[in-house]
Each structure stands twice: as C-alpha cells, then as structure tokens.
C-alpha cells in the first residue's frame, strides 16, 4: 500500500496514457510531466510569498498580513489581482521587444531547470545523463534575461542594476558549480537520479547523505550561500537594492511583468534549493530508515520548505552587503574554500574508512576556513572616518 501511494502520480500518468493513441503518447507523456510542475511550483510561490511575509513579520514582532481572508490566507490572490490589474507601463525609448521578452525568458529559464529535478521516486521530467550540467547551463540563462531587462529599459539605473546583478551572479556561479563538483566526484555521475541513488541506504537509522561528511557539509554550506546570491536574496540582494539603485534592473517594469520577475526569482530559488536537496540532502529519500513508508514527494517538499524557511530566516536577520564585501566574499573566501573542498573530497576518497579519515578531513575543512576568515578580517583596516569639510 505505501508503495502505491508513493507511486500514485506515476501510476495515474500511465493509466491516463493508456487512453490516448500510441502515436501521440510521447507528446502526451511530456505534457503530463510538465503541467504538474507548471502548477505546483507557481502555487508554491504564492504560498511562499504569504509565509515569507508572515515569517518576516514575526521576526520583527509584527503580525504580518492578516486582513485578507481568514488569517490573511487570501493575500496571494489579492496580490495577483492587484498586479494583474495594474497598468503596464513601457518607457517610450525602451526596446519594446526585448523589454517584453526579458521577464518571459527569466521565468522560462527558471522553469526549465525543473526538468532534471527528481521530486519523488521515478518522478522526473527528463532523466538526463548530464542532468547537473543541464541545470547549471539553464541557470545561467537568467543572467541573460537580467541583462535584457536592464539594457532594454534605456534607463541608467536599470543598466547599472543589471551590470551589478550580473557581476554578482557570475561571481557566485563559480563557487556554486565548484561546490557541487564534490558530489559529482563522490557519486561518479552527472545524472541527478544517480546522485540520489548514491545517497540511498542507511547506516543503522541514519541516512547516507553527502551532507553528513566533512566535505559534504562544507559543500552544502558553500552551495547554499552561493544559491542565496544566485537568487538575489538578502543579504545578497544588491541587484534590486531599493535604497541605492531604486530596484535595479526591473525598475522600468510594472504590473504583471514585475510580478513575473518576482516569480522567476522565487522559482530560481526553489530550483537551486531543490538541487541542493538532490545533491546533498538525499533528494526525496526519508531522513530515517523507519520513515521510508512516507511518500517520497512528501519528503522532497518538506525538505524544500525547510530550506525556504532557512532563506526567510536569513533574510529577516542579515542586512544587505556592500558591493565590495560581496565580491571579496565570493572571490577570496568562497572560491578558495570551494577549490579546497574538492581536494578534501579527494583525500576522503583515497583514505581508508575510519576515524582517522574523519579527523583529517574535519581539520582540513576547519583550519583553512578559520585561517581564511581571520586573514581577511585582519586585512580590513577599520578606522575612524574624518570628514574634512563637514566639520
């Protein structure tokens, strides 16, 4: 019985496929795989906007939205209606075609990434052999969309915002990819399904997730930091820095196009979180061996929600970084650590299993981390600013 519930969506799909002629079955099958993704994740976006606003409210000792519907549950609908009914303003001098295409490209790029995410056992749109590669390749389409938006608006603020956004996204894409390499090394495959399979199995009740190894943990932390920066979330939300460049690259967007940018941003966040789950947290696998009867998709989405809660928590806590801090952090801390982590994963692989392997690897992770952060801190010469003309 648990098996059936676990596979219910797969079974339903096959059952539905039985009713269509053989010639159109591939097309129909693709449709049946894609449509749920197009429904579930935007719906998750709607729920997240509400939960995020409520959570941030609580973090700041406020109630958050509680006016629309019971407990403010209808807030996403109100938001949707509002953004749909707002006037769509396009600047006179803007390049209309590119201006129109940018948000579409952003959203479709974010959605494409879901093709290789296994959201449950046997639940994946396309099991590519180079799934991880596809994911990152599609992910970098977002940069193009951002630049299209910033450039086509013919506004200096939006152009500057786009440049800033791209500088940040490219800088953090490097550690993002490097952090995931350790997993590819350990699993010996670029296929997301194979990576999840490599983490299956339990030692006692504990799962064999990659995050429970020194290099896996370091990789996970680096990946999540880079993912935050990739999805432009606080404290890395410089691209939209309202206080400095007035909403950055999407300053000239209004109404539903603006909402699309937000949708794309959140979809990107879900996708990278989903990738982090797949790479480090065992994908759809249950956290304990005695919980394997719970359906796999349930585990995937619970892990996703936990990660999103983490994102919201971080957003509620940290202030925005400065541009130089951001770049320094990416190139002088994240990048060396990610490179070192690959080396550590190699050490782990070639040392015999046992306590010594753990010790060596933990030291190899912790020592450079401390030394690097210490060193970077010492370099920062904080001094009292003297204002020559303000006195």
């Amino acid at each position: 019985m648990p098996e059936t519930i676990d596979q219910i969506f797969v079974i339903v799909k096959h059952w539905l496929l039985g009713y269509v002629p053989v010639e159109v079955q591939p097309l129909f099958s693709a449709l049946l795989s894609v449509v749920p993704i197009l429904v579930v994740f935007p719906l998750l976006f709607a729920i997240t906007t509400l939960l995020e606003r409520k959570g941030l409210g609580r973090i700041q000792n406020r109630y958050g939205p509680n006016r629309t519907g019971p407990y403010g549950l209808l807030q996403p609908i109100a938001d949707a209606v509002k953004s749909l009914t707002k006037e769509d303003v396009v600047p006179n001098t803007a390049d209309e075609v590119v201006h129109f295409l940018a948000p579409l490209l952003l959203v479709s790029a974010a959605l494409l990434a879901y093709a290789v995410l296994p959201v449950g056992r046997n639940m994946i749109v396309a099991n590519l052999n180079a799934g991880v590669l596809f994911f990152f390749a599609v992910g970098s389409l977002v940069e193009l969309a951002v630049f299209m938006a910033g450039w086509s608006s013919r506004n200096k603020y939006s152009l500057l915002g786009a440049m800033r956004a791209i500088a940040q996204m490219i800088s953090y894409e490097v550690p993002l990819v490097l952090a995931s390499i350790v997993v590819i090394m350990a699993a010996g495959s670029l296929s997301t399904v194979a990576i999840v399979k490599a983490q299956a199995g339990y030692a006692g009740i504990w799962p064999h997730w990659f995050v429970f190894t020194p290099w896996g943990f370091a990789g996970f932390v680096l990946f999540m930091i880079a993912a935050t920066a990739e999805s432009n979330r606080s404290p890395f939300d410089l691209p939209e820095g309202e206080s400095e460049i007035i909403a950055g690259y999407y300053i000239e967007y209004s109404g539903f196009k603006f909402a699309l940018f937000f949708l794309g941003e959140y979809l990107g966040m879900f996708a990278t979180s989903g990738m982090a789950i797949t790479l480090f947290l065992g994908g759809w696998a249950a956290p304990f061996s005695f919980l394997t009867w719970v359906p796999s998709y349930f585990w995937f989405f619970s892990k996703l929600l936990v990660l999103i809660a983490g994102f919201i928590w971080v957003r509620g806590t940290l202030p925005r970084l400065r541009m130089d801090q951001l770049m320094n952090f990416a190139w002088r801390f994240m990048l060396p650590m990610a490179l070192l982590n690959i080396f550590i994963a190699g050490v782990w692989h070639f040392m015999p299993a046992g306590l010594s392997r753990w010790l060596v690897c933990i030291i190899l992770v912790a020592a450079p981390c401390i030394l690097l952060s210490r060193g970077l801190k010492k370099e920062k010469k904080l001094q009292v600013r003297t204002y020559r003309f303000a006195e």
Binding site: I59, L318, S373, R374
Partner: protein
C-alpha cells in the same frame, strides 16, 4: 571569529519569531481600525476654526483679517471677507468670513496659519482619517466643516487650550475693565455738573 556574530543575530531573530507567538507584549502592532492608540496631545495635522458657545456661525472667532491666507505657504486658504458686521460670541459686532475654505490636499500641516492668527481662531486638529474617494468635493473643506467647538479643542490639546483660554479671558477682562473705565469716564465727563448727585447715588 568568523560567523559568530551571524549566529548571534540568527538566534535573536529566532527568539523574536517564537516569542511573538508566546507573549503578546512583544507585538507592537496596533490593529488600526479596531484598535487605536489614544490621541497624542502633541500631534497636529490639519487646521480647524474654533468657535465659542453653541452656535458655530455666531461663535466663530475668526474676524476675517486675512493674515492666515497671506501667510499660508502653499496658498491653500481661501477667505472672502463679509461686507457687514455681525455680533460675535461676546456680542461685539465683527467682520466674519463669508467664505472660508481650506484645500486639505494642498495643506502641508506647517501650522503657520495658527502661529500668525492674532485671534486664536484657527488651531491644529489631530484627526487623520481624511481619505476620500471624491477628489473634487471632499478635499475642499468649507467653513462649516472646518468649524469645531472650543470644547473639542480643549479635549485634543488640553494644555495648550487652557493657556489660550486663560489668555483670552485675561484679554477680555482687561477690555472690560478698560471699557468700564471709559464708560465711567464718559459718564463722569457727561455728568460733571451733577457730580455730586452721581457720587451720592453710588453711595
């Protein structure tokens, strides 16, 4: 060390998050239309015209001197002076504003009109729910809408109103004393030949 302050901050926000569900005192939000904070005495946002007594038309202190109209920086006061005089609350004949309009949407709440009014006729209100869906009628307030009683003024700005009342009373008392003196002097002047009888009568 690296990350320590970060963890401290995260712990603080987590405490806020959980604490706001446990203890209500943490929540500083006032759920506005249902809950309200008591009006703050020092708050001011829009002028109104003070009247004494019961009748707003007769009791209006404004004598249409046009000073506030001239001084208002965004020029949002419109006054039309009356051609006749009518008795005010004290029974003294005065000019009165035939039209006194303020454009709420233009007023910048600077309180200059209040500062310059020599008759304490215009004061600042604390009411803040001024929104309306009719931009052309509901934002130009006329004399009647602007008129509010002195009691109301006493309620929203008690300290200030007491001072104003005391000053007005003092002024009136002085005026009365002066007029008494003048009337007496007049009486004396008129009755110089029969001063004896007058003093005899008063005794």
């Amino acid at each position: 060390m690296f990350g320590e302050g970060l963890l401290k901050g995260m712990a603080e926000t987590a405490r806020n998050f959980l604490g706001s569900y446990v203890s209500k005192d943490r929540l500083t939000t006032v759920q506005f239309p249902e809950e309200r904070v008591a009006p703050i005495e020092a708050s001011r946002n829009f002028p109104f015209l003070v009247y004494d007594g019961k009748d707003w038309q007769q009791g209006m202190r404004c004598v249409s001197c046009l000073i506030c109209e001239k001084e208002c920086p965004p020029k949002c006061i419109f006054i039309e002076k009356s051609t006749d005089k009518k008795p005010d609350a004290t029974g003294k004949p005065q000019f009165y504003p035939a039209v006194f309009n303020i454009d709420v949407s233009v007023c910048m709440s600077c309180q200059i009109c209040v500062e310059v009014c020599p008759f304490d006729a215009i004061k600042m209100d604390v009411a803040f729910e001024l929104s309306t869906d009719n931009r052309f009628d509901d934002l130009l307030w006329d004399k009647q809408r602007l008129a509010k009683s002195n009691e109301y003024y006493g309620k929203i700005h008690p300290t200030e109103a007491a001072a104003v009342d005391a000053q007005l009373a003092e002024g009136r008392a002085k005026l009365e004393a002066k007029s008494k003196v003048t009337t007496e002097a007049k009486a004396v002047g008129a009755a110089v030949p029969s001063a004896q009888t007058v003093s005899g009568a008063t005794e």
